[in-house]
């Protein structure tokens, strides 16, 4: 089935921007999407993965090795041919077992040949792509811990059942969840680079537009994709340009100062907030095609980068977004 074009998603600008930032700057460390069900969260993530150009990888390699990395995975891969494959998009189901996620002993081989061999799991599959977890707040805790650890280190280390295997697992982690159904521990939230809040559009015009586009897509997915091909191209070029600009992005000292002050003012715990804020601002500037990071870029990403890191007061109901907006007004207003 043809995927829904990324550019055809109505509204949800903050989420789309966060996904693009994560796509050009993997060091950002994942995106957490808070929001109601059925607001196009998974559609957006899936659409972005489908939009990105195919990646070259060693043929039939189960670990997605690039040509230069040939033979460095646990298998090891031997094929001399390098083929393009689609950017992986792995959907982690609720209730997935640890075995399925990190990989496990290959039972068939173990029993038949008495051979100890590793059957890669979803983490290997997601390497160089996206790992999407719907309702991460309902996922087993130990799995979430494990996922975030792998996402942060870019490597999956398996030490169990007599196996000792490590393989590359670099992916953009995208989590989604509804805070009404349970909280995520603050330690885990902090590991996510960006967090965005999405809600069902309330304006009738927007909803009508969504209905129209979904209807068109339903009727003739190919024609619909065709009609958006131009827009999709624009995004592709934007991502490509962003990637090349990011490498040479300048970061003035004044902006670093601003970032530090902002983090202090909102009371964001830990250094990770500051780091992510700077990285996100650089990516934002690169996407916008700027040469150096400017204050407006910083302000644009501040809510996503800091929202989930504010110290939480159980009895204070003021939303984090409001607190950040207030701090920005006071500092830079």
């Amino acid at each position: 089935m043809a995927r829904f074009p990324f550019s055809a998603i109505v509204g949800q600008d903050e989420m789309k921007q966060a996904l693009l930032i994560a796509a050009i700057e993997p060091a950002i460390g994942g995106v957490m999407v808070f929001g109601d069900r059925g607001t196009g969260k998974s559609t957006a993530a899936r659409a972005l993965a489908g939009l990105l150009p195919p990646i070259p990888a060693v043929e039939d390699c189960r670990y997605g090795c690039t040509g230069e990395q040939r033979g460095t995975c646990p298998d090891p891969c031997t094929s001399g041919r390098v083929r393009k494959r689609a950017v992986p998009f792995v959907d982690l189901p609720l209730g997935a077992t640890e075995d399925r996620v990190i990989g496990a002993l290959d039972l068939e081989k173990a029993l038949r040949a008495g051979e100890k061999s590793f059957e890669p799991g979803l983490l290997a599959k997601a390497h160089r792509g996206f790992l999407y977890i719907d309702e991460i707040n309902l996922l087993e805790d130990h799995l979430v811990d494990l996922l975030l650890d792998v996402a942060a280190s870019g490597e999956n280390v398996v030490e169990r059942e007599g196996l000792s295997v490590r393989h590359r697992a670099k992916f953009v982690l995208i989590g989604s969840g509804n805070p009404e159904e349970g909280e995520l521990r603050p330690q885990l939230l902090d590991r996510f680079g960006l967090s965005v809040e999405v809600s069902t559009p309330t304006e009738i015009d927007q909803r009508v537009e969504i209905m129209r586009r979904c209807g068109e897509q339903e009727r003739d997915a190919h024609a619909f994709a065709e009609s958006w091909a131009g827009e999709e191209d624009k995004i592709l070029r934007k991502v490509a340009r962003g990637k090349s600009k990011l490498a040479k992005m300048e970061t003035p000292d004044a902006i670093m100062q601003d970032a530090a002050e902002l983090c202090m003012a909102v009371g964001a715990d830990g250094l990770r907030g500051e780091l992510t804020l700077m990285r996100a601002a650089r990516a934002e500037a690169a996407l916008a095609g700027a040469k150096a990071v400017q204050r407006k870029h910083l302000i644009a990403v501040a809510p996503s980068a800091l929202r989930h890191r504010l110290r939480r007061d159980v009895l204070d109901e003021t939303g984090s977004t409001v607190r950040i907006a207030r701090a920005i007004d006071e500092l830079f207003g």
Partner: protein, 578 residues
């Protein structure tokens, strides 16, 4: 004909829904048929008679069977890898629709797998699903991930007996693809109607227009007419309504249908009069189809609405994780992990015998010789897992528990909640006052919801202590049945004055409360009674004794002290239990 005229018959609606669903099963996802009974069976037969293949998927299906994989038992028996196909791909190939019995008990894990299979590659998925939902209580519902992606929610529990049950006939020549897209005015009207009914999310909006198109195709038309829209609204939006549209007459009875547009609807300003009229017709069609008990639910308690979700944790299986406990014979399936060493150990002593049986020579060197394993050698790991704890707060919100104490109780509950994401336990809240008890908060980890429930907790009135205790015990039973450990914290002065049947009278009330407390003792749940009377009397300690509960008198406590006391008490209880 105005389609609203037939609105009152759930069975007719379900039949129409089934026909529409069969026209485009992949787009519409599925049907939920709530309420077991003869009419549901008749409906299923009618669906079968219409030429639909149904594939029953039992709730206990394991991953290997669902998705396919290596059949270990067969592989061992034949000495080579035997793959089995999953039910999903079998059903997809046969063009069958999945039939999911006992859908209200479906595990979240299974729902996740199904949804993923349908969303990743719709062309390789079965033709939608039918959820047989036998739930009675509002909380007993199929997993929300499934429900959301199910276009039709049909409630057949109230349907009347009918002799002949047949699906409406379809016009063969027209398919939904032939039907033109709805025009802008219709889309706007649908969106406005959804907003007026409080239907959130985008999926219903997508379903509603697809249903309209399917209905047009059913009637052999190539454009969408008003009646298609009313049918779609009635079948898709009305069962999802979370509020009653704000028309002028807010009578408790669904207004009888009429062809005149309803007098006024002030939800939207920027539509022109033409749209308005259409929208009113749609809202009216929906109104007529909103179940009557929904009205009662909505008017009685809005907070409950938010609480009707089933977002609670799933059942724990001790074969999956936790502290290792050793192994037992069994097949590594359903997530149970193979204990390789133990399996080999079990197989090794039998090797000479088995080789002889197979007529093979015993190779002295032992080289290149496979180990002959049989199914009965396999061992799987067992784990000990601590069941999640759910603390049920049962709070006396009556006039005798003075307002100040209630605030303290609220504060304590909030402080406990703040710890919830550290301890990963859950909290539920029951309040009793006036003539009955009320579940304000089903077991949750959500701060947001808990805080809202608490802030809406009213005070004053009589003390239906017996009712409160009974409800707490029922909830505890339910939690225990799901494999978690409930513990009760009752905050009261112990002076019940409303009997179990809701009549006033201290004597009967006392007897009933005592009986309810003894029932808790009988169930063996861990309990704590906190006396919140300004001047502690003998009532609360007596209650604690009947309940077999620990007792705490906190005449002057504030929220923090109360919290500390509860934490200390549960901690010591944990130790004692360990």
């Amino acid at each position: 004909m105005n389609a609203a005229a037939t609105a009152s018959d759930p069975l007719a609606d379900a039949l129409l829904a089934a026909r529409l669903f069969l026209i485009s099963p992949k787009t519409l996802g599925g049907m939920q048929l709530r309420g077991g009974g003869p009419m549901r069976d008749a409906l299923l037969n009618a669906i079968r008679d219409a030429g639909t293949r149904l594939r029953r998927l039992p709730a206990h299906v394991d991953d290997e069977r669902l998705l396919g994989g290596v059949d270990i038992a067969a592989s061992l028996a034949s000495g080579r890898a035997v793959h089995q196909r999953g039910i999903l791909s079998e059903a997809a190939e046969a063009g069958a629709t999945l039939l999911l019995p006992m859908a209200e008990r479906m595990r979240d894990a299974l729902a996740g797998r199904l949804v993923q299979a349908f969303e990743t590659d719709a062309s390789a998925a079965p033709h939608g699903w039918i959820l047989l939902d036998d739930g009675i209580e509002a909380e007993e519902r199929p997993p929300r991930t499934m429900l959301e992606r199910t276009a039709f929610h049909c409630d057949l529990s109230q349907s009347e007996w009918r002799d002949s049950v047949e699906l409406p006939k379809a016009a063969k020549s027209t398919t939904p693809a032939d039907v033109a897209a709805p025009d802008a005015a219709s889309l706007t009207a649908l969106a406005n109607t959804a907003a007026a009914l409080g239907v959130d999310g985008l999926r219903p909006l997508i379903f509603v227009q697809e249903v309209a198109r399917a209905n047009a195709a059913l009637e052999g038309r190539k454009t969408i007419a008003e009646r298609d829209l009313t049918v779609a609204v009635r079948l898709v939006l009305a069962p999802r309504a979370t509020q009653f549209p704000q028309t002028e007459d807010e009578s408790a009875e669904p207004p009888e249908q009429s062809n005149d547009p309803a007098p006024d609807n002030d939800t939207q300003e920027n539509t022109d009069p033409g749209d308005r009229a259409l929208e009113d017709i749609l809202v009216e069609a929906a109104e007529a189809a909103i179940p009557a008990d929904l009205l009662a639910q909505l008017s009685s308690d809005k907070a409950k609405r938010a609480a009707q979700s089933s977002g609670t944790g799933q059942k724990r299986k001790s074969a999956l994780r936790g502290k290792p406990l050793g192994t037992r014979p069994g097949l590594p399936r359903g997530g149970a992990r193979l204990a390789l060493i133990d399996s080999l150990r079990a197989a090794v002593p039998w090797q000479p015998l088995r080789r002889r049986e197979l007529g093979r020579e015993i190779d002295e060197a032992g080289a290149n010789e496979q180990i002959i394993m049989r199914r009965e050698d396999l061992r799987v790991k067992r784990f000990e897992e601590r069941a999640g704890r759910v603390t049920i707060f049962c709070v006396d919100a009556s006039g005798s528990a003075a307002a100040a104490r209630l605030a303290e109780a609220k504060g304590a509950v909030e402080l406990m909640l703040a710890q919830v994401y550290v301890t990963r336990s859950e909290v539920a809240l029951i309040a009793f006052r006036g003539e009955g008890a009320e579940l304000l908060l089903p077991p949750t980890r959500s701060l947001t919801r808990a805080r809202r429930a608490l802030s809406e907790l009213p005070g004053g009135g009589g003390t239906p202590l017996a009712n409160g205790l009974t409800m707490a015990r029922d909830l505890a039973d339910m939690i225990a049945a799901r494999g978690r450990t409930p513990s009760l914290v009752v905050l009261t002065d112990g002076r019940g004055n409303i009997a179990a049947d809701g009549s006033p009278g201290r004597k009967q009330a006392g007897a009933d409360a005592d009986a309810a407390a003894k029932a808790i003792l009988h169930s063996g749940y861990e309990a704590l009674v906190i006396d919140i009377a300004a001047r502690p009397g003998p009532h609360a300690p007596d209650l604690a004794a009947s309940m077999g509960a620990r007792f705490l008198a906190l005449p002057m406590a504030d929220a923090k002290m109360l919290h500390a006391a509860v934490a200390a008490a549960t901690a010591s209880a944990n130790k004692a239990a360990a």
